[in-house]
Each structure stands twice: as structure tokens, then as C-alpha cells.
């Protein structure tokens, strides 16, 4: 992020402006990726009219960065009509897509409309690996063709490489492919639970040894010794810090109008079909609760050695049962990086190996919090 963009984000935080929004236009998709966290059926997407009204409300609320994602955005036949409307409201529009439906004509139109950047999911440079993950034969070839069309129009393309056990060995190949195509490259080694709470996809996550190797690869982390150094103890400043931008300057709207703090934080704060976007942003009790949380309020993490450096995702913590609790996926990353187990991992290791009485999977948010608080109370006693 540029210095100026950082300054603007901080100003947006001071002013209470929703600077950045991800709007998923559909959960339908033409790929069936093995790790996907979405249910691809259409349960009643917002109509074109509803989305245009939402765009107007978001522009009035001060939203600047608008990320259109899915599902696959090009599955909507009104996609370009929506994009035209978004650009007429002068949003800084970023797209996330698998790009298999982008040919020369679409690439030219995207350029005309002044799209800021397009992030395209690429899992491997090898068709047999990429196509096995997307479950669509020929999908890698089509996505690469699309990247060429987009680059020929001068559009910024970011190749997003989600890593899992299936493609863990291929990131260098994807990075080289990105260089060859003139695209930027970003890598994400986290597979997240499905939005309905189903955690079965987590078995695809790369193991600890693969993460450890990745976190020592200076092509990604710069100075590996520095990156993997033991964390400094959290100081007063870090205790008062915000966990992340979710709900503070950023939020998410689903194809059904559900308003969440973030795409990975499925705490429903309202629905834009029933309330104005700005009313939810300002008045939602759930958002106010999210905004009140500081590191010092996190029961386990505030006492943890990794407190100030951990990439803890409050949404993943919420999906694990408590938005003030740890996110085990991030604990595992901190451990792979430094070799120092988090408080949470130590507690899990020391926990008696009896079957868990409570499987926190599809437990509703409030219930999850109650269970977690109950768990803390029992532990303290």
C-alpha cells in the first residue's frame, strides 16, 4: 500500500468512512474448486436494480475502493451493466475472477471502463494440477489466454496463488509464469472454512513443514531471519491496536444483501435489502461490537507471545466460535514462522485427549460466543 493510500485509510478510520467494500455479485461459478468456501447455488441474488441502488448508497457513504467478486462475476449476464454503473459513480473498481470468460472483447471493454486491477486465481503453472483443483479441463489455458488479453489492453493483473496440499510445490512455477505474462503475483497459504461453518475443507491446508519452508523463502518474505525472529512482547501501543480493518474501514456485502464486517467474517450486521447501507454501517450493534475490540480484550491472544505480530484474523476466530478468541489457523502460521507455539496451541496440546463435547462448526454466532465464554470460565476455575 502506498504511503498516501495508507494516510487516506487512516483518515477514513478517523472519519468513520467505509473506505473499501467487497461486493460479491453471485456465488454461482463455472469452476468447482476443491477448496472453495461457498455454496454455489443461487438462493435469491440481488437484482440489477437492487445492486444499482446499493451502489448509489455506497457512493453516498463515501466508499472509494469497490471490489467486485463472487462466485464468478462473469456468470451474471448483467455484469457489464453493473460495472458501468459502478464506474459512473467513480468507484475505484477492482475485480476478482477466474477469467475463463474473458476474451478480447471483454478485455477491451474492461479497459474502456477504467477498471483498476483484476485479480485472477491461478493454482499452478501445470494444467493437470490447476485443472484438477478447478475441476474444469482447459481452465488454466483459458485463464492464461485471458491474462494475455488483459495485459495487451494495459490492465493491471494480479495472479492470486492460493496454496494447499495439492499445489504446494508449484508456487515458484506460478510466480515465474506471472513474470512471463507481466502480471503481479500474490500468494495465500490459507484455506478457510466454508461460510456455513463446515471445516472439512481445512484438511487441504498445507502442513506445518510446508509452511515453515515457505516462510523461509526470501523470494516472498525478504529477510527470512528477521521475518521468522521471535516476536517482541506486546507493548501498550499494540494492546490498543485494532485487529484489522474489518468493520472499521472495510466491509462485505453478499449477493443476497447480507452485510458482514468482511468476507471471512460471517457475522450478519443487517441486510441492504431492508436497510440503507449507511444506516447499517453507522448503527449496527454487531459492527459496534466488532469496532470495540482491541488486542487487550482478547483473552488468550493478549497474553500470547505472538500478540503484536500475529496475523490473527478476527473472522476466522469468529468462525472458530469466538471473535475475541484465537484463530488456530493463524496460530499455526505463527508457529511455522517462529517455532514458538502460541498460548492457544499450548492449551490445545495440554488439553485432555477426550472427544470434544462441543463441535464448534455450524454453531450460530451468539451461541458460539456463549460456549467460548463458558469454556474460559471453566478453564479459569
Amino acid at each position: 500500500m502506498s504511503v498516501l493510500m495508507q494516510e487516506m485509510s487512516e483518515r477514513a478510520l478517523r472519519l468513520g468512512v467505509p473506505f473499501s467494500v467487497q461486493l460479491d455479485l453471485t456465488y454461482r461459478c463455472n469452476e468447482q474448486c476443491v477448496h472453495c468456501y461457498l455454496d454455489h447455488d443461487d438462493h435469491g441474488e440481488m437484482t440489477t436494480v437492487e445492486i444499482k441502488r446499493l451502489l448509489e448508497e455506497m457512493a453516498e457513504a463515501g466508499v472509494f475502493i469497490l471490489t467486485l467478486s463472487g462466485g464468478e462475476i462473469f456468470m451474471r449476464k448483467d455484469f457489464f451493466e453493473i460495472l458501468e454503473c459502478a464506474r459512473a459513480f467513480t468507484f475505484c473498481v477492482k475485480l476478482k475472477t477466474n477469467a475463463v470468460l474473458i476474451r478480447e472483447a471483454q478485455a477491451a471493454r474492461l479497459r474502456e471502463l477504467g477498471v483498476q486491477s483484476i485479480q485472477i486465481s491461478i493454482y499452478s503453472h501445470r494444467p493437470e494440477v490447476h485443472d484438477a483443483i478447478t475441476k474444469v479441463q482447459g481452465s488454466l489455458r483459458r485463464s492464461i489466454d485471458a491474462i494475455r488479453f488483459l495485459k495487451s489492453q494495459g490492465i493491471k493483473v494480479i495472479m492470486a496463488n492460493v496454496l494447499m496440499s495439492e499445489n504446494m510445490q508449484d508456487h515458484h512455477g506460478v510466480r515465474r509464469l506471472a513474470e512471463e505474462l507481466g502480471a503481479d503475483y500474490t500468494l495465500d497459504p490459507t484455506i478457510t472454512p466454508m461460510m456455513d461453518g463446515d471445516r472439512s475443507v481445512l484438511k487441504l491446508n498445507a502442513g506445518e513443514s510446508a509452511l515453515r519452508e515457505l516462510f523461509r523463502d526470501e523470494a516472498y518474505v525478504g529477510n527470512a531471519e528477521e521475518f521468522c525472529a521471535p516476536p517482541p512482547s506486546p507493548d501498550e501501543n499494540s494492546m490498543a491496536s485494532l485487529p484489522c480493518s474489518a468493520g472499521h474501514t472495510a466491509c462485505y456485502v453478499s449477493p443476497y444483501g447480507e452485510f458482514y464486517p468482511c468476507v471471512q467474517f460471517p457475522l450478519s450486521c443487517g441486510n441492504v435489502r431492508q436497510q440503507r447501507f449507511l444506516d447499517i454501517w453507522r448503527d449496527s450493534a454487531q459492527l459496534k461490537e466488532v469496532r470495540a475490540i482491541r488486542l487487550r480484550d482478547l483473552s488468550s491472544c493478549s497474553q500470547c507471545a505472538h500478540g503484536s505480530t500475529c496475523s490473527r484474523c478476527p473472522g476466522l476466530a469468529f468462525m472458530e466460535g469466538n471473535m475475541r478468541g484465537p484463530s488456530t489457523l493463524d496460530c499455526e502460521k505463527s508457529y511455522a514462522r517462529t517455532g514458538i507455539p502460541s498460548n492457544n496451541l499450548l492449551a490445545k496440546k495440554n488439553a485432555p485427549s477426550v472427544p470434544r463435547l462441543v463441535q464448534i462448526q455450524v454453531v450460530p454466532a451468539i451461541m458460539g460466543n456463549r460456549l467460548s465464554r463458558l469454556g474460559s470460565a471453566v478453564g479459569a476455575a
Partner: protein, 120 residues
Amino acid sequence: MTVESVKMNKTMYVARSPRIAARMLGEEMLVMSAQESTLFTLNPTATILWQAADGATPLDEIVGRRICSEFEVPPEEAMRDAEALARDLANHGILLISEEPIPQPGFSPRQPAPQEAVKR
């Protein structure tokens, strides 16, 4: 038309580039160029110019009606500064300038949305 080809003292028309993202944040206008992927902030004068740049109103009219009255600047000085500012913004791809009116895209987001043609 290139920035240089619009000579000083000719009528100048200014229009917002269609490839720009923009939003007011507090007192400042944020502008991002898709071409350069660069973020700019506009000061109050530049913001007025940006907002008034409809492609149809000559720059001297914008200066006379919006800038001189707002900032109490002598018209010649205001016009000189506004021309320089318009050229600078055009160099970054933020504004289009021309000796002729500049047609703007017909789509207005405030037009009533058409009925949906496609049932999904």
C-alpha cells in the same frame, strides 16, 4: 487532443477522464488514475475545477463563476493558475482538455435503472 496542442489564451474545455476513480474524503478529493495506478489528492481549488469539468463549460466560465467568487482572486491570476492546474491534471490523465467541447459518456448513474431484461 494533446495537452500541448491546447494553446494558452484559446478557449479551453475540461472534462473528467472516464478512467478515473474519485471520492470526497473529508475536505479532500481523492483521485486515482487507472492508467498510472497512482493516487492523488486534490486541494479545494482543484476539487472545484474537477467537479465543474463537464466537457461543455469553458474553463474561463468555470473560473469566473466558481473559483473567483469562492477564493476572491483577480480573474487574470485565477485563469492563469487554473490553466496551469488543468494542464498538470491532464498530464496525469486525470482531466481531458480541448479547444472544443468534449462529449461525455451518455450513461448517468442517476437515470432510473431499466427494468431487468434477463431473468436469472
